[in-house]
């Protein structure tokens, strides 16, 4: 079971992890506990591994600080679905093995707090009504990397990047 956490358009990296809670400010072991601290202070306390984040347009804009996606990785976010992503943040998410799905329709369908069944590998969300939402397939290189855990893990395992 995964809970849907719905956010608005233009969530930037500072919304995801405010700069003052960067690892070197609060400690590398606890910084992820401040994810969305200004926006939704309850988020980091209540989020469960595998939960889904849903956003609108331009998810991940702002300075391409790597600790924002790292905080989401540490919280074991199951995936992010947004209408569009900022380029570098999208890449950072994939590099860390956090599935990022671009869809114009699905973010409008899902509701905040909704509990769904999320099959990451099949890219399928099943709502409590039984409605099935199919996520766009991730790029081939990511599918290979996710099997290994992340692109970094893939590299360690195979000494090359997926698709190479």
């Amino acid at each position: 079971m995964a809970r849907v956490w719905k956010f608005s358009d233009s969530i930037n990296t500072d919304d995801i992890l405010p700069g003052k809670y960067a690892p070197f400010m609060v400690g590398a072991d606890v910084f992820h506990k401040y994810a969305f601290h200004h926006f939704r202070p309850e988020f980091a306390l209540e989020v469960q591994p595998g939960d889904l984040l849903v956003g609108g347009k331009n998810w991940g804009l702002g300075s391409s600080r790597e600790y924002a996606p790292k905080a989401l990785k540490r919280l074991e976010i199951g995936g992010i679905i947004a209408k569009s992503f900022a380029r570098i943040h999208y890449r950072n998410l994939l590099n860390l093995g956090i599935p990022a799905f671009d869809s114009l329709e699905i973010p409008d369908l899902l509701e905040d707090g909704e509990i769904v069944t999320y099959d990451r590998d099949a890219g399928i969300i099943t709502r409590s009504s039984g409605e099935v939402l199919r996520l766009p397939p991730p790029p081939e290189f990511l599918r290979e990397a996710l099997k290994a855990g992340s692109i970094l893990e893939y590299y360690k395992q195979f000494q090359k990047f997926p698709g190479e």
């Binding site: 391409s64 380029r87 890449r91 671009d102």
Partner: protein, 91 residues
């Protein structure tokens, strides 16, 4: 700890990258200059080599390289001609 110093080819600012961060970089990652926001594509990890991205973008989804138009740059967004992925450019 070792620090990698990368001199930005556009503004000559020295960017200090702690070794621990550098170890997490992969080829194809993009480094952004703190001082002038120029994007530097990591083309090789050892030795560290970079390429200024300029008006070139790489689709974050399918890795196709393509030229950004003036309109793309003005609106800070682009669509990959190969896979159709639409994305926002950092400002």
């Amino acid at each position: 700890m070792n620090t990698l110093i990368v001199t930005c080819p556009e503004c000559s600012e020295d960017l200090e990258i702690p070794e621990s961060d550098w170890l997490e970089f992969a080829e194809g990652d993009v480094l952004v200059c703190d001082s002038c926001d120029t994007e530097l594509l990591v083309v090789s990890l050892s030795p560290p080599e970079f390429e200024v991205l300029g008006d070139l973008s790489i689709c974050p989804k399918c890795e196709t390289e393509f030229d950004l138009t003036d309109a793309d740059l003005e609106h800070h967004r682009a669509t990959c001609p190969s896979c159709g992925f639409a994305f926002t450019l950092e400002t």
